[in-house]
């Protein structure tokens, strides 16, 4: 009796460990990466480089949070890169006419608006998310160029120093991003709307029959994605000190990759904020390391591909 109990406990512990391993196993892949980095490069663990690393993952981090929310509903959002450009160029262009806070508000609202359009088309018109957001990706990019063909420079110096600056050694943008992760985590795990979004990706019909307004929640997810992309755009403009209308193309792939490396399942039914952070960090780390080791450009691409595969292999379930 006693023996069997201890066996049971041990078994349960083992199961839990195994499950954790499946969920966060890529952390190991990741620690290995860092160890390699630390032992071969004397620069990697400098405060400067770590601070760089965090700054570099801000954009993808924020976009990925929105992307995650959309992926959880079973959708996908290809328009994120265009939204980044839209908000970056709006926040830079508008601050020549209105106060900075207003410009920021307008830029973020614009992202939310694109989210609403995406959401309504997906939810109410039952169109494929891929196509809807592909269409808005092109259309929004067009709007960006119509608004301004030339790069816009944020005219307000405090805008750059404030949002593009540092708190001690820590970049402000990184702080914002690091706050957003627990926020999204609580939203998805502790709020009714978040739980509904997660469930929708698993079985939309079951959620509808549970008396939840599915369309509303789908729209909400796309709006969240639009907002986060827009925030990323604002921070990007502050960091770079310039907003090009062509900025942000290809960002959607990075964000999707971060989510999937972090365990999200395209089509819904899996994924979370912690895993996504791991994905974002892994991707950022790979780029940083490849630069640290001065890997030849073409070989960088090949290596990056291999490392990504290695990272997902390490976190493979079963």
């Amino acid at each position: 009796m006693n023996a069997s109990l201890s066996v049971q406990i041990r078994q349960r512990l083992f199961t839990r460990l195994r499950r954790r391993w499946a969920d966060y196993g890529f952390i190991v892949a990741f620690v290995i990466l860092i160890l390699i980095a630390a032992s071969f490069s004397d620069v990697f663990f400098t405060q400067r480089n770590i601070s760089n690393l965090f700054r570099q993952i801000v954009t993808n981090g924020l976009i990925s949070l929105g992307m995650l929310t959309v992926i959880l509903t079973g959708g996908i959002d290809l328009s994120v890169g265009s939204i980044v450009a839209l908000s970056a160029i709006l926040v830079s262009g508008l601050q020549q006419q209105v106060p900075v806070p207003l410009a920021i508000l307008a830029a973020v609202a614009a992202g939310g608006l694109v989210g609403i359009i995406n959401g309504v088309l997906v939810a109410h018109f039952k169109l494929a998310p891929f196509i809807v957001t592909l269409a808005t990706m092109g259309a929004v990019r067009g709007v960006v160029y119509v608004y301004s063909e030339t790069p816009q420079t944020p005219s307000d110096p405090t805008f750059r120093t404030l949002l593009g600056g540092f708190v001690g050694p820590v970049p402000v943008a990184a702080v914002i991003m690091l706050i957003c992760f627990p926020l999204v985590w609580s939203f998805l795990n502790r709020m009714a709307a978040g739980r509904a979004i997660v469930a929708i990706g698993g079985n939309q019909e079951a959620v509808r029959l549970a008396g939840i307004n599915v369309n509303q929640h789908i729209i909400l997810a796309y709006v969240i994605s639009g907002l986060f992309s827009a925030i990323a755009g604002v921070l990007l403009a502050a960091r770079l000190g310039i907003a090009q209308p062509s900025v942000g193309s290809g960002y959607e792939l990075d964000a999707i990759a971060a989510c999937v490396i972090g365990g999200a399942v395209l089509g819904g039914g899996g994924g979370g904020a912690i895993g996504t952070f791991g994905g974002v960090f892994t991707l950022g780390l790979i780029d940083n390391l490849l630069n640290m080791f001065n890997v030849q450009t073409y070989y960088q691409q090949i290596l990056k591909g291999l490392i990504i595969l290695f990272a997902v292999l390490a976190r493979r379930k079963e």
Partner: protein
């Protein structure tokens, strides 16, 4: 003189390594550096992403390079990157693209507007001031290299009676893009007299499209860059590839390397250096053709 055993580290920060032009530039810097045993070159590629370029600059500064060569390609401005370099107190030599908004130590590159003017003059002269000229642009709209070239060309052509038709879409600076744009323009216009492209790659594609339409004798083409394949096309007997403006990335790369070395040694460089971009036609093409060059 530098101390014994000291290693000089420089970084070649590229906005893009998409195309032979930029690859050639990167290669030229590395080749020049390879002559010296104690010079190490770190080369990065931002894949056309402004943010990644800034990150790359941060990374190489963190690695402790002594100087940076920055190839901005079609990037207009990179204030954050230039500021970071300034703050690190190291010199930066801009190549090809003179980035706006921010301080740089020195710039070596072509005069894109001037190249355009050159092509424009050739076209205007050869057409005798009239006819239909089709323009293929690379895009996107915030790319001022292309804009400079086209505007330079237009500044001459618009003074004549030549009718200018711009292809409505961008060619993406590639042959397949140029091919497709030209195909559509050929369908739209029955008689075209000349074609101007913002770079040679697009013109090479356009030339194929014209040949496939059996209209090679109807028009001639002018590009920019002096790409090897374009030089071959110009050399070819009876070719309708008429001219290009030399924009030699190899030369630019080598010049930039030596400029940076001079600066590191304490020399005070001129702020901007425009490299000559002679017009290449079939009369002088043989002078510029180097079968071993990357670009």
């Amino acid at each position: 003189a530098m101390a014994q055993g000291k290693v000089i580290r420089i970084a070649m920060v590229n906005f893009s390594q998409c195309c032979p032009y930029f690859i050639g530039m990167d290669k030229a810097v590395k080749e020049e550096a390879a002559v010296y045993r104690n010079i190490e070159v770190i080369s990065t590629d931002a894949n056309g992403d402004a943010e990644k370029l800034t990150s790359d600059v941060e990374d190489v500064i963190a690695k402790g390079v002594d100087g940076i060569i920055l190839s901005g390609a079609w990037l207009e401005a990179a204030p954050a990157a230039l500021e970071a370099i300034e703050k690190a107190g190291i010199p930066v030599v801009l190549v090809d693209r003179k980035l706006k908004g921010g301080n740089y130590t020195s710039w070596v590159g072509p005069d894109n507007y001037g190249i355009g003017v050159q092509d424009g003059q050739y076209i205007a002269e050869r057409l005798g001031g009239k006819g239909l000229l089709v323009v293929l642009r690379g895009g996107p709209a915030d790319n001022s290299i292309g804009l400079d070239r086209t505007n330079g060309m237009l500044s001459v052509v618009q003074k004549t009676e030549i009718r200018v038709e711009m292809a409505p879409d961008w060619g993406g600076w590639s042959s397949d893009g140029g091919y497709k744009l030209m195909e559509n323009m050929l369908a739209k216009f029955d008689k075209i007299d000349a074609v101007f492209c913002e770079n040679d790659s697009m013109c090479l594609g356009a030339q194929k499209a014209i040949a496939d339409a059996g209209r090679s004798d109807e028009m001639f083409l002018c590009g920019v860059d002096g790409e090897k394949a374009a030089l071959v096309a110009i050399m070819t007997e009876g070719s309708n590839y008429a001219c290009t403006g030399l924009n030699n990335s190899d030369q630019i790369g080598r010049a930039a390397f030596h400029r940076l070395m001079a600066i590191l040694a304490g020399a005070e460089p001129p702020k901007d250096t425009i490299l000559p971009s002679p017009l290449i036609t079939k009369d002088n093409v043989i002078k510029f053709y180097n079968p071993d060059s990357v670009f």
